[in-house]
Symmetry: C3
């Protein structure tokens, strides 16, 4: 089984930041990362201690969002540098993983 | 690019456990971890082999939930110890990652 | 605190692939992995560059899905081999983590 090393990244924002579309466009158009997925959390809190939580009665609150992507370590290193202009310290996590490259 | 080492944690529960609020309060008030996000899965199964799955017709089922957080390795080690009183073995996963600390 | 090494896996598909049920059945019945959770993203794009995005007005689009599981490194290695027949290269990521095993 062939594998390649990648760097996984998760970027933590909230809906209230109105950054999702901008960041997806940036990752897609500027950085051309291989693939990106965004997830919406159902509850959470940030370093401010302010809680974010969804209910069926109120789906418009400031819910947490996570933008996840992975790519080669070299490419991700550049993306992480560039992300510093968009996201403040403490909200971009990365780690090393392996991706399948066929049999 | 400055980075700091963190430990990432994912805790696997289900809606039927009714533990989400309790665990978020615990992580926020007692442990004061830096940030927490909870996600709801759309399908899954646990070690019991019992499947959990959502459909538009039945959104009240026992869906999987994941509570994710990261913080410094020292702080997380204490949290993981304390989580043993809330969550049974096999449901709390952690790994080492890096977080952005500005340019 | 006792911990055991596990391998975490995330498999990236989309709703349009119609593979979710098949893969969950495969992981549950054939591979008998310890636990699996599936998540639906709210937006994303793949290597094709084609964007996937949800809105309240259109929840039937080709949204990204992630299937996540973890188990012992030996068991996961076999699963990763077998997944090559279901998922093309570049969509299955794995990394090493620790799972809680009680106090």
């Amino acid at each position: 089984m062939k594998q390649a090393e990648v760097t996984m990244v998760r970027v933590y924002i909230t809906e209230g930041d109105h950054q999702l579309r901008k960041l997806l466009d940036f990752l897609h158009n500027e950085e051309q990362v291989r693939g990106v997925t965004a997830f919406r959390g159902i509850a959470g809190f940030g370093r401010s201690g302010r809680a974010h939580e969804a209910s069926l009665l109120d789906i418009s609150m400031d819910l947490p969002l996570v933008i996840e992507f992975f790519d080669s370590p070299d490419r991700v290193e550049k993306v992480l540098q560039d992300l510093n202009q968009w996201v403040e310290p403490g909200y971009v996590v990365n780690w090393t993983a392996q991706v399948n490259m066929g049999e």
